[in-house]
Symmetry: C2
Subunit: 253 residues, 2 copies
Amino acid sequence: MTGRLYVVGTGPGSPEQTTPEALAAIAASHVFFGYGPYLDRLVLRDDQRRVASDNREELARAKDALMTAASGEQVCVVSGGDPGVFAMAAAICEAIEAGPPAWRALEVTMVPGVTAMLAVSARAGAPLGHDFCAISLSDNLKPWTVIEERLRAVAGAGLVIALYNPISKARPWQLGTAFAILREVLPWTTPVIFGRAAGRPDENIRVVSLADADPATADMATCVIIGSPETRVIERPGLAPLVYSPRSIGAIK
Amino acid sequence: MTGRLYVVGTGPGSPEQTTPEALAAIAASHVFFGYGPYLDRLVLRDDQRRVASDNREELARAKDALMTAASGEQVCVVSGGDPGVFAMAAAICEAIEAGPPAWRALEVTMVPGVTAMLAVSARAGAPLGHDFCAISLSDNLKPWTVIEERLRAVAGAGLVIALYNPISKARPWQLGTAFAILREVLPWTTPVIFGRAAGRPDENIRVVSLADADPATADMATCVIIGSPETRVIERPGLAPLVYSPRSIGAIK
């Protein structure tokens, strides 16, 4: 049997946000690779086998998955959210490029999903309603100086910023430093959203000003969205506020 | 009966990429507002009514939908892709902020979806595998000078760029000018992906270099992704190339 590889995004966490395409890819696969907590969300059959690994083992996991697919298995690599956003799709491509020629002949299918910033944005209103960017705050794979330069560039250009991987035990100071940099560029009244576990039972969405943004509010499961100077907050009696970035800016042509 | 408003993203176009949450919101609604081609994708019951409008009527559509929900109806505003990305969620928020107090008391639920750049990225490999941004190339709602400044800033900072609304009959020259600006900042070998109708039967994904990027390749249904200087192309015998942005850049700390 010819092996094949699916790289699947299961969405932010609620089964209600997993696409039929992702479920079909999971049903068609026999060996599953992924970070344990993501694999735990799957409902598997007796003939389906799981190989869990730590979330800092992405390249090793990618190689294992490709080797298994090349041996003729139907393999599924599982990411939360979307596999193409700070997740396994890039690791698979890296492994293919550096690997044996047989890996380039494998049929590889990436299955997109709802990435965290979209789920958080939906819960908050429409903070990503105009130009925006997604930046990983992890300096495990790029120098911190590059992250600083990027934060200044995108905030100065007026883009809304979604921060992935904002904080972890091994990276405790980066988010606070990021807020300090952004306070040099943006109005301190700029809305900041801490979106944790959007769409899941333990969901927690908090909206504060950049002045009051406290890194301790975030953990590994949080996506932090920082508004642009245009981003607005609508207070609502008895309901959560709506945060949104208007579709238009400045003087129109 | 108390009215309520769903703002739903149906994903890039294939029913296989629409979430169960979006389908549940559609099933619970009775009046549907949206751009005609998006409403055409829905399978509605006899008791469900549709109100189609042109795709440049977003604010008027938002007001109509809010008025209808405030009258006690279960209303659904439909976007393709994700409603929070250059779509109806921001228009609804704008209308609420400018509208009567009763609109602030309405229960409003945004339902996220797979936005076009994620679907295109999945088909191409993992071009959004590291820091990236989404920029609308439409100068209907912001000055062209702002768009130029943003393109220079994000390309200079090394972000991958997804362009929404790249071209239309009324905006024929903007995409060509954007490519010209990017050729001043990025290597001419940078991969450019023209992703049309990703996930649909008429899907068309083309990968060229920035030097060869021709605006005529794009239409209104195209999402254009321009790589960063790190973005790579893996050629594969008998298969489409994989385009990806590595997870790491530069010298690691």
